[in-house]
């Protein structure tokens, strides 16, 4: 057990799974193994506490639909990797950070404050007509697919079905 009461073997198993999935999709976990395993332990805590992987570095509401955008990997990971080389909690890093060419640090919060998030969900996208199938977009990694329903799990970033939005 670590000091948060999570079994070391459970942390190691999830750490290895996340590493494997990240590398297969062109993402990288933070090479600071101790720091990263601390975050993995926190994901397990949040899974038990809320029922999903709420970002360890954000205060979750506990209501899944309000927290969807901060379920790891969060909607902000990819833009943060592009701009800062790390995601908000620093579980994921860019290749430059992984290779030690750039330093990982604490970055500003990209998630809009609650009032703005509410406005955002009210906006409706423009639909193209005449398509034979709807196009779904993964809000985490941008993967697009044309099919009746989004996939159960994003084949690229492993985000679940409820993270997809109708794109066209």
């Amino acid at each position: 057990m670590n000091e948060q009461g999570i079994a070391i073997a459970e942390i190691d198993r999830l750490y290895e799974r996340l590493t494997r999935e990240a590398e297969a999709a062109g993402y990288h976990l933070n090479p600071d193994v101790e720091f990263t395993k601390g975050l993995v332990s926190s994901l397990i805590i949040n899974e038990r506490r809320y029922g999903y992987w709420a970002c360890p570095c954000r205060l979750a509401s506990g209501t899944k639909k309000d927290d969807l955008d901060i379920i790891c990997p969060c909607d902000y990971r990819d833009p943060d990797l592009n701009e800062y080389g790390v995601c908000y909690c620093a579980l994921y890093v860019s290749n430059a950070v992984r290779k030690g060419e750039k330093k990982a640090g604490s970055i500003p919060e990209r998630r809009p404050p609650p009032a703005e998030r509410k406005r955002e969900t009210r906006k409706k996208g423009r639909r193209l007509t005449g398509l034979s199938l709807p196009v779904w977009r993964c809000k985490v990694c941008g993967y697009l697919c044309a099919r009746e329903q989004p996939p159960e799990v994003c084949p690229i970033c492993k985000a679940k079905k409820d993270r997809f939005e109708r794109f066209m």
């Binding site: 601390g38 949040n46 360890p56 205060l59």
Partner: protein, 93 residues
């Protein structure tokens, strides 16, 4: 879980609002421990109901985005995030 007091060198009044699960909050806490200063901290994610709402309002009055760690020094200065140099400077003044 409520405010926890960590004894140490008396320098400033330091209040750290943190999340028990956050790596940057842990680093910030460790920095304060290494500096050996007296401080108080509260894990906001471990609070419930009204108590949680009350502390969220408190944090938001200093930092409207209410993200963590939020450190309030002498009820005057607020530092958001693990900004090692800024924290060292503010505390060692």
């Amino acid at each position: 879980m409520t405010v926890v007091h960590i004894p140490g060198k008396k320098s400033h009044h330091i209040m750290l609002y943190a999340l028990s699960t956050c790596g940057w909050c842990q680093k910030t806490k460790k920095l304060l421990d290494d500096l050996g200063v007296e401080y108080d901290y509260e894990y906001v994610d471990q609070l419930q109901g009204d108590e949680k709402e009350k502390v969220i309002k408190e944090v938001s009055s200093w930092n409207p985005r209410c993200n963590f760690p939020t450190m309030v020094i002498d009820n005057k200065k607020c530092i958001v995030g693990y900004k090692e140099d800024e924290i060292r400077e503010a505390i060692q003044k």
